[in-house]
Amino acid sequence: MFKQTSAITLMNLRSLPQRAGMSLATVLSIALVVGVLLGFLAMANGFQKTIDGTGSEDVAVILRGGSQFELNSVLSADQFRIIETAPGIAADADGQPLVSAELYVVVDGIKKDLGTEANLPMRGVGLQAPSLRGQFELTAGRMFEPGSNEIIVGEAVLDAFEGFALNQTIRLGTNDWQVVGLFSTGGTVFESELWADIGVVQNLYQRGSSLQSIRARLTSPDAITELEAFADNDPRINELDIFNEQEFYASQSGTLTTVINAVGWPLAIIMAIGAFAGAWNAMYSSVDARMREIATLRAIGFSGGAAAMGTLIESLVLAAVGGLLGAVGTYLLFNGASASTLGSGFTQVVFAFAVTGDSILAGMIMAVMIGFLGGIVPAIRSAYVPLLTVHRSE
């Protein structure tokens, strides 16, 4: 059986060039289906990866109670000074607590792909801020000078928005800013931000001495309970929400990823039905074209099962080639491509499309399923080719 099958399969595959048109159409249409699926998955995975990579579990994010997002929160300088004395917070080499007061405003940047305005977050920070982001690295230039109109720019912003090159002056709203440095944080959401001195931001945006969020490096992830207990019991500070930074970001990625998956999968499956119809049609024609050949083989003793397997394998090979082509094509076209969308904080999150191994596997499974379903009926048909076809003239 195996020998028969492989003999017939080889014969089929060798005769493929004679049916080049339809075979190629099958391969390419399956490639397109897989391409669409992988494109969506790459988008979802890329976004998810950016959000998931953001935040460390030993950093606490402190917001005003009930505010949910940094943008909604307002905290006072007094609250900050009290938090600085709280237990469970780690200190730097000089014994200073690792706490950062931050104020986050939204400015308009010009997106490169559409040429239209989009919300960019500008974060007013103190000099402690970098030490609260694990992988912070100044990749070019220098840190801003406190008290000056200087900004440092996340590398993702540089990729996706116009006018943020090093040493450039950029007008945001009514103010001019000098780009003095570029920074990376290892592909996290922070790379989609502009950082400036918090004092300057408070002044230019009329926020007095108020801030929005406090980040604190904890002595250990569990120390967050000490911090919470402290905040609850101190009558001088109003109600606060204290989050584990990692969970804070993870909770924000849900919707978009769900939407992308909810659109991408059904779309790919519906398209797969179209490609399946194409594969079936092509395999049907293939059996048609090989009628006499199959009948001849059957006449000289090959089994119907072997003929069927030969047809099915031809279909699977075409589908697998299509799937691979789609995966390679998507990888070359989209992997690493930068895109940005509105994150949950109403500001742009820049992310890179990520074609992952898992999604390629999913794409290949889909391709092979199309091949199997499209090939199965023609395969059965080829097992029952009447032997007398051997005498047919046409």
């Binding site: 239209t116 919300n119 398209m271 179209g274 049907y284």
Partner: protein
């Protein structure tokens, strides 16, 4: 019998092939119709934007508010018919995940600015006069089972009252529907004065202004005049037409247009490949019959036309089925998605576009086989056994 009989018989000669091709065409047009309808609703804000409405925001970004006093100053500009303002309330009901899009507005000028809001006269009067009234959209009311007369608390994730609480009590005194199906009725509106006087901070500020002009032709001039008026203030403004404002917001989500082009391109790429090659094969199988037709005296252009009509018919059969299926599916989805995608239907515009694409697709896939049929040489084709 006429040419159409011949065409129809040829089309369905191999039933399985005809069904499979129809199915694949159906799917492409199904996708086209669904995506086209979603895209239309997504962009409806731009198309439905009233020509006479301008939006004025703080030019430092949407998180920055404007002084309440600007309201009166803009009203004084000549050519301005009505000015209203709205402030984002950041509301939620019971728990933070149950977000309610809530805006604090000046009721009278707001309803004047947006005649799309429809409600019974007594409810309208209540919204205009009752300070703690909450005007609720039909979809939203349905979502939480609210009806006129209910008292509901809304919490704000931004604002606090002087007493430290974030909860505002409201009396649902009006429920609105929209005069255009594409307008969302999933939002709630409250009286600015009621909200403002309880605010612990940021009092006497508004989120943005809505300006109605007397004459859309004067929009640019008035927008410039507004922005110039506040050019030397601490809060400078940026005024744009409602359409431009809405478009800018859509663009923030991403390059949706490009994604849609990719999807529809892929869907049609698939059927172009499948149907195109199948028709070439189908016609080449009929070479001999075409030669006989020519021998009988059928002129080549007539045969060319028949093959082309055949491919257009195939495209129409599959395409119309696809649009029909999409219409049914959208009918089922529309109530479910009313909050995010109001007015989800297949419009005559989308249908017309789909129809044009069916004919175009039929011509594109048919032209090659039709030319092959035109070229069939009787002597060669009949000589082949």
């Amino acid at each position: 019998m006429n040419d159409l009989t011949l065409i129809r018989k040829n089309l369905f000669r191999k039933k399985l092939r005809a069904i499979l091709l129809t199915l694949s065409i159906l799917i492409a047009f199904f996708i086209f119709t669904i995506i086209g309808s979603f895209n239309r609703v997504l962009n409806a804000g731009v198309e439905l934007a009233a020509a006479d409405r301008l939006i004025t925001m703080n030019n430092s970004g949407f998180t920055q508010s404007l002084p309440y006093a600007y309201w009166g100053r803009i009203q004084a500009i000549e050519g301005v018919r009505n000015v209203s303002h709205m402030s984002w309330f950041g509301g939620y009901y019971q728990q933070p995940t149950q977000v309610v899009q809530t805006f604090a507005v000046d009721p009278e000028t707001y309803l004047a600015a947006y005649p799309e809001f429809l409600m019974p006269d007594d409810q309208r009067a209540a919204f205009l006069t009752q300070r703690d009234c909450l005007l609720v959209g039909e979809t939203l009311a349905l979502q939480y089972g609210w009806s006129v007369g209910d008292r509901v608390p809304l919490l704000s994730n931004i604002w606090q009252k002087t007493d430290g609480s974030s909860s505002w009590e409201f009396d649902i005194c009006a429920i609105y529907t929209a005069s255009v199906p594409e307008m969302s009725t999933a939002a709630a509106y409250l009286n600015y004065d009621y909200y403002n006087e309880a605010l612990a901070f940021n009092q006497d500020r508004v989120g943005m202004m809505v300006v109605n002009t007397d004459d859309p032709m004067a929009n640019d001039a008035i927008a410039n005049q507004i922005d110039a008026m506040f050019a030397n203030s601490t809060a400078q403004t940026d005024t744009a037409t409602e359409a431009a404002f809405t478009q800018a917001f859509i663009n923030q989500i991403g390059n949706i247009g490009l994604i849609l082009v990719y999807i529809i391109g892929a869907a049609f790429g698939i059927i172009l490949l499948i149907v195109g090659t199948s028709l070439v094969v189908a016609i080449s199988e009929r070479t001999r019959e075409i030669a006989v037709m020519k021998t009988l005296g059928f002129p080549a252009p007539r045969i060319f036309r028949m093959v082309l009509i055949e491919s257009v018919m195939l495209s129409l059969v599959g395409g119309l089925a696809g649009v029909g299926l999409a219409t049914l599916v959208l009918k089922g989805l529309a109530p479910v998605l009313a909050a995010f995608m109001p007015g989800l239907v297949v419009t005559p515009g989308i249908f017309g576009m789909a129809l044009a694409m069916m004919i175009g697709f039929g011509l594109i896939t048919g032209i090659g086989p039709a030319m092959n049929a035109h070229r069939v040489r009787i002597v060669d084709a009949l000589g082949k056994q």
